[in-house]
């Protein structure tokens, strides 16, 4: 047998099930990302794309299936047939392996831009202060906000806050970045500055899983587009295939209602 050498995927999701009470939100999702992949989840609201993203760093619990990140099982382990939740410390360590940017930015309002970025470096990575500050300044510079490092979130525009939030996540050196509708809460004229930061990161080979409604952006940056519908992956493929030659009628319907 001459099987091609397959590298272990960075992120591997198998048979993911999630329900809130009787409401089933994810009905068995399989998805894997190779290192350097940019994968975008699209779909109408309620299709489960944000929930899927949040399961990856355990902001949502899930009841079935397995998520593996860099070979480590996320959230739960099987011990003699029983599903056991990892201890809090282990979960915290796994969460630090992924970075997340939120729709509402969620910057810490009582800390300056710089302190927002250094908090995780100091308390989670236990980095010496001068090292943490240098690294934070490097990333603030990278998102174009070095001169705003001593501003509080309340003194920054939405676009600036989101860029600080991305710097805060990236500075932790995660192996995977999750972007959850990061431009949805922004004024239209501020969307571009955030997207260009994400695009830059994609070009540098950062592995990313995104949820976005910016279809043109998704088309440009994604290696793979995943269309979700009612808790399942309905269709996936390259951006060209998904956007230009949709197979499923639901995807075709969804794309018809989207403006590019």
């Amino acid at each position: 047998m001459n099987q091609p050498q397959t590298t272990q995927p960075l992120l591997d999701i198998r048979g993911l099930h999630k329900h809130y009470g009787a409401l089933e939100v994810l009905k068995g999702v399989d998805l894997s990302l190779q290192r350097g992949n940019v994968v975008t989840l699209i779909g109408s609201s309620g299709s489960g794309k944000t929930t899927l993203l949040r399961c990856v760093n355990l902001l949502e619990e899930f009841q079935g299936g397995q998520i593996t990140l860099e070979g480590e099982s996320i959230g739960y382990s099987e011990a003699s047939g029983k599903r056991v939740r990892h201890p809090e410390r282990m979960i915290a360590r796994h969460r630090a392996m992924t970075g997340m940017a939120f729709q509402q930015f969620n910057l810490f309002p009582h800390l300056t831009a710089l302190q927002n970025v250094t908090l995780g470096l100091l308390k989670v990575k236990k980095m010496p202060r001068d090292e943490a500050v240098a690294l934070a300044e490097k990333w603030l510079d990278r998102v174009g906000l070095l001169e705003r490092r001593n501003h509080f979130p309340g003194q920054l525009s939405g676009g600036q806050q989101q860029r600080v939030a991305i710097a805060r996540a990236i500075a932790m050196n995660p192996s995977l970045m999750l972007f959850d509708e990061v431009t949805s809460a922004l004024d239209p004229e501020l969307v571009g500055e955030v997207l260009s930061v994400i695009k830059g990161l994609a070009e540098e080979g950062m592995t990313m899983l995104l949820v976005t409604h910016e279809m043109r952006f998704a088309y440009e940056v994604s290696d793979k587009i995943v269309f979700m519908n009612q808790g399942r992956i309905e269709e996936q493929g390259s951006a060209k295939d998904v956007f230009e030659r949709p197979q499923s009628p639901r995807l075709a319907e969804f794309l018809k209602n989207i403006r590019f």
């Binding site: 969460r95 630090a96 910057l107 309002p109 908090l119 509080f152 309340g154 932790m172």
Partner: protein
């Protein structure tokens, strides 16, 4: 001819009594505010984040104490604690009563402030790998404390005012001391006004302190 002494002369004569009463009022209030705040923070945290079986006793404590007049609480501590076998002085009983009262109020203030923080804050803390206790210490409590401060100042001044109830169980705090002086001098209006002024001074000092801290930690 005999001239009755002026109020200032009487005040001078009564200075030690009043000073001791003033000190007792400040001391018992400070104790109640300090320990009440500590109890309240712990109770508030448990009420917000604890599991049901942890919350239940604290919920009972808070509801019970807040639903009881402070006066009744002070009397209960004075009569019931010794009956239950804890021999304590009137001062101690009063301090316990005020502390329990303060704790129940601070607990609800803390719970309210923590619950007012958007969910995303805890999630953002978790997303960068902070444990729950780290998120609490570096993200949630610093924000909650800013919320708590104005209401906490209010509760503290309530404690100072409630400390006058200790006069009923025989603690010679400022009010009882004043009444003793009045019983001797019959200068009712003057000494009550003076006592009122001193209580105002204590509370105004607390308010100024609160405002100072508020300004120090204010966010732009």
């Amino acid at each position: 001819m005999y001239q009755s002494p002026s109020w200032l002369q009487e005040l001078w004569i009564a200075r030690d009594t009043l000073w001791a009463g003033f000190q007792a009022s400040v001391y018992v209030s400070a104790l109640a505010i300090l320990f009440g705040t500590l109890i309240g923070i712990v109770a508030g945290l448990i009420l917000t984040y604890g599991r049901f079986w942890m919350r239940a006793p604290f919920r009972l404590y808070v509801d019970l104490i807040r639903g009881t007049p402070v006066f009744v609480l002070v009397l209960a501590c004075f009569y019931m604690l010794p009956a239950l076998g804890w021999q304590i002085s009137a001062f101690q009983a009063g301090a316990v009563g005020l502390t329990l009262f303060c704790g129940s109020h601070v607990a609800e203030i803390v719970r309210g402030a923590l619950q007012a923080i958007p969910r995303g804050q805890l999630e953002a803390g978790r997303a960068i790998g902070l444990t729950f206790y780290q998120s609490l210490g570096y993200v949630l409590l610093p924000q909650a404390l800013r919320q708590i401060l104005p209401t906490w100042v209010n509760s503290s001044t309530e404690i100072v005012k409630a400390s006058t109830l200790l006069s009923v169980i025989g603690v010679a705090e400022l009010l009882l001391s004043t009444q003793q002086v009045i019983a001797r001098t019959f200068m009712t209006l003057e000494f009550y006004l003076f006592a009122g002024f001193l209580f105002f001074v204590i509370n105004y000092a607390i308010e100024l302190f609160g405002r100072y801290i508020e300004k120090r930690v204010a966010l732009p």
